[in-house]
Symmetry: C3
Subunit: 339 residues, 3 copies
C-alpha cells in the first residue's frame, strides 16, 4: 500500500511539517529507513539515529520535530500513531476457512462459519469455536472450551478444559491455559492433591505471549479481564484475577488468588505473591516482587542495579555489618551524652 | 454425589458442630457457597468471607469454629480434609483405553493393557507404557522412555529419551523431560558441546506443572524423588537430585548437579545455583536464591519488599553510601577516643 | 568404541601419567566410574570423589594430577578434553532421511536431500529445509522459515514465520521462535497493538534450550550470532541482538532492543532491561539484572545470598532504618564539631 503524507496527516489528525505529496509504502526504523519509509521517534535514546535517518518522514512529538531531517507527522503520542499507520500499511494476511484433513474434531464440538482448523489440531468434546476464529497447527482445544469470534490461536496452543476466550484474542504458540493449579495439602504421608475444579475466563481483546501458562481455578475460575496483554513465559496461578487493560512483561509470575487491578503494568521477571489485592494503576519494576497489598496507584520496585562484582561484594559486606555499625553509633551516642 | 454431614464427619474423623442430616453435593469457596455447598477456612485473610458465607457447612480448625455461621466440620488440618472431601465429591472422570487412529506407535514399543494413546501421540522405539497410563493428544514418548502405571501425560508433553516416570504420575501440558543439559566447554574456537549422555528418573506420585523442563543428566541421571510436586515453568538442570516430597512453586530454577533434600519447599521464582547440597526440610522464600550449601533445616530468604519507587530509590542511595557512613562513624570514634 | 590411553593421549595432545595400554570404553563421573571408564576432574568441590574414584583414568589439570588414584591424562582444560573424548566414545546416532507419512508439507516448501521430517511435522508455504536437517515429531516450520544444513529441531519446536536458522544448529523441544514481540501503544481505549513485522536471524552453531522463546523483530530482525548457546526457558525479546559465542543460563530474560556483545555469559534467572548496549566479554551473575549500558568487560552482579529468615528479616529492618542511622551520625558529627 502506498499513501501520501497528506493522506496520513488527515487520516490520523496530525500536523504535517513537509510536503504532503510525498508517498511512503512501508514503515522502518530510523536507522534503516529509506526515501519510501515512514519512521517514528518516541524514545530519546535514539536521538542520534533521528538526526541521521534516511526516512521520508518521521512521526514525532512536537518538541522533537525540529531535530528531524525529514518531513514530520507531529503527534502527542508518536508510538500510537505509528501503530495505526503500520497496521494500515502492513495488514495481517487473511486466511481461508476450512478444516485440514489431519485435524481431529469431536462430533460434539460446535464449529461456526469462517473458522480455520489447521493441521493436527484437536477439538475435543463440547468445544465451541466461534465464527472467523483461527486454530493453527498442533493446537488443542480441550473439553468444554470456547474460543471467541476472530480469535487466533497461532500454533501449538493447549486449552486444557473449561477455558473460555473472548473475541479478537491473540494466543501465541506454546501457551497453556486451564491446567491444574498447584494445590497440595500436607499430610503424614506426604502431599495430598487438592482437586482443581474451576475454569479460566478470558475477556475480549486479550493477547497471550508464547509459553505463558494460566492455570484453572481451584474452585472458582481464574479470570483475565478485557484488553489484558501478557508477554511471553508469564505464569498466572489458580484464581488470580487480572483487571482490564493490565499489561505484564515477560516472565512475570502472579501467585494464587491474587487480585490485580485495572491498567496495572509489570516490568518482567518479578510479580506478586499469593492472596494479595493490588489496586488499579499500579506499575511494578523489572525483577520486583509485590508481597503486600497495594492500595495506592504508583510505581513500585525493589531491584538493585548490577554492579561490577568487586564493588557489589564490598557493598554487600557493608550491608551485612549494618548491625555492627548501628551498635557503634549507639555507643558514640551514649559516650557523647547525645542519647 | 450427595453426602450428609454426618457421613462426612464419620468418614474423615471430624467433630461435627451442627445437624448431621444436612446434605451437601459440592465444594465451594466461602464467597460463592450456597446451601448445598461445603467450604473450608484455612487462611485467616478470608475471615470476613467466613462470617458471611452462605455455605451449608465449613471445615475449620477448632479455634475458628465459633466464627462460622454454618455447621462446622472441625479438623486440625482443614485444607487436608477439604482435599479429601473434594476428591470424593468431584471424582476425576475415567477414560476409555485405546489408541487413536492418528497416534504413531513404534512396533518396538510395549503398550500395556488399559492404556489410552490420544490423537497425534508419538510413541518411539523401545518406549514402554504401563497399564492404565494415559497419553494425551500431541504427547511424544521418546526412545527408551517408560511411563508407569496410572500415570497421566495430559497433552503436548515431550519425553525426549531415556526418561523413566513412576506410578501415578501427573504431567501437565508443555512439560519437556530429558532434553540435553547445558554443558559447553570453552575453547579457542568458541564453545564445544559436552555430550549429554544420562537420563531422567522420576519416582512415583510425582506431579509436574505446565511448561516445566527437566534436563537429562550429563553422565549419570537427573533424579526426581517419590512424591515430589513441581509447579509450572520450573527448570531442573542436568544431574540435579530432588529429594522425596519436596515441592517447588512456579518458576523455580535449580542449576546443575545441585542436590535438594527431602520435604523442601521453594517459594517460586528463585532457586539454587549449581553444585550445592541442600539438607532436608529447607524452605526457601519467593524470589530467593540459594548460593551456598545449607546444612540446617529452616526458612531461608533474601528478597526485599517492593516499595514505592521514590522510597526505594532513596533507600538504595543510602545503601550505596554505606561506605561513606562507615568512614564517618570511624572518624567520630577516633575523635571521641572511643576506638 | 574402545580406546587405549596411549591413543587418547596422542589424539588430544595430553601428557599421560600411567600405562598407555589401558583401554577404556566409556566416560563416567568420578563417583560411578569403573575400570573401563575415563572420568575428569575440573571442579575442586569434587576432590573427595577424585581421591576415591574407581576410574581407569582421569583427565585433570597438572596441579591436580598427584591426587588421582588412577592414570592421568594431563590437560590445561580438562573439561574441554573430556568433551572431545566423550564425543568420540559416544557418537550421536545418525538418522535415516525421509518424510513420515503423517507429516504435512506445503507444495511450495523446498526440502533438500538427506532431510528427515518426523511424525506430524508441519512445513508451511515457502519454507526451506537444507540438506541433512532433522525436523523431529510435532515440529512446525512456518511460512518463509529456513533451516540450515545439519540443523536439528528435536521435537515440538515452533518456528512461527520469517525465521532463519544457520548450519549445525540444535533446537530443543518446546522452543518457539518468531512469535510477535510485545509491542502495544497506549490510547484512551486501552492498548493498541503495534504490528510486529520483522523476522529472526540465527547464525551457525547455535543451540537453543527447551522452552526458550525468541520473538520476531518489530521492524528490523531479532539477531542471534554464530556460536551462541542458550539454555532452557530463556526469553529474547524483539530486536535483541546477541553477539557471537555468548552463552546464557536458564531463565535469562533480555528485554527489547538490547544489544548484547560477544562472548558474554549470563548466570541464569536475571538478564537485562530494554534498549541497553552491553559490550563484549561481560559476565552477569545468577539472578542479576543489568539496567544500564555496560562499557567495560567484567563480572557484574547484584544478588544477595539467602540467609535464614530471622537473620535476613533483621538485616532488612536495619536496611530500612538506614536513613535514621545516617541522621544520627550527622547529629553526632554536629555535636562533636566534626562537620
Amino acid at each position: 500500500m502506498r499513501l501520501s503524507l497528506g493522506e496520513l496527516a488527515t487520516r490520523f489528525g496530525c500536523e504535517l511539517i513537509g510536503d504532503p505529496s510525498i508517498v511512503i509504502d512501508r514503515v522502518a526504523t530510523l536507522a534503516n529507513a529509506d526515501a519510501k519509509s515512514l519512521s517514528f521517534f518516541a524514545n530519546r535514546i535514539y536521538r542520534e539515529q533521528l538526526r541521521s535517518t534516511g526516512a521520508a518522514a518521521v512521526i514525532s512529538r512536537p518538541a522533537d520535530a525540529e531535530d528531524c531531517p525529514a518531513a514530520v507527522l507531529v503527534a502527542a503520542n508518536p508510538y500510537l500513531v505509528y501503530a495505526r499507520v503500520a497496521t494500515l500499511l502492513h495488514p495481517q494476511p487473511g486466511f481461508a476457512a476450512g478444516t485440514h484433513a489431519t485435524a481431529v474434531v469431536s462430533p460434539s464440538a460446535r464449529i461456526a462459519k469462517g473458522v480455520y482448523l489447521g493441521p493436527h489440531a484437536v477439538i475435543a468434546d463440547g468445544a465451541v469455536i466461534a465464527k472467523n476464529a483461527y486454530i493453527g497447527p498442533n493446537c488443542i482445544v480441550g473439553e468444554r472450551c470456547s474460543v471467541g469470534p476472530d480469535t487466533h490461536l497461532i500454533a501449538a496452543v493447549t486449552l486444557v478444559q473449561d477455558v473460555q476466550i473472548g473475541a479478537r484474542g491473540l494466543v501465541h504458540p506454546g501457551v497453556i491455559i486451564g491446567s491444574d493449579g498447584f494445590g497440595h495439602a500436607t499430610s503424614d504421608e506426604g502431599w495430598v492433591k487438592v482437586p482443581q475444579l474451576g475454569g479460566v475466563r478470558i475477556g475480549d481483546d486479550v493477547e497471550v505471549g508464547s509459553g505463558t501458562t494460566i492455570d484453572r481455578g481451584a474452585v472458582d475460575d481464574t479470570v483475565i479481564g478485557n484488553g489484558v496483554k501478557l508477554d511471553n513465559q508469564i505464569q498466572i496461578a489458580h484464581n488470580v484475577i487480572v483487571g482490564e487493560h493490565t499489561a505484564m512483561a515477560a516472565m512475570t509470575g502472579i501467585a494464587g488468588s491474587t487480585v490485580i487491578g485495572k491498567r496495572c503494568m509489570f516490568g518482567g521477571n518479578g510479580g506478586a505473591t499469593g492472596h494479595l489485592t493490588i489496586c488499579d494503576d499500579v506499575a511494578v519494576g523489572a525483577c520486583s516482587l509485590l508481597t503486600k497489598n497495594i492500595t495506592s496507584p504508583g510505581f513500585y520496585t525493589n531491584s538493585f542495579v548490577a554492579e561490577d562484582d568487586k564493588t557489589w561484594k564490598r557493598q554487600v559486606a557493608r550491608f551485612r555489618r549494618l548491625g555492627d555499625l548501628a551498635a557503634r553509633v549507639k555507643k558514640l551516642e551514649k559516650a557523647s551524652g547525645n542519647k
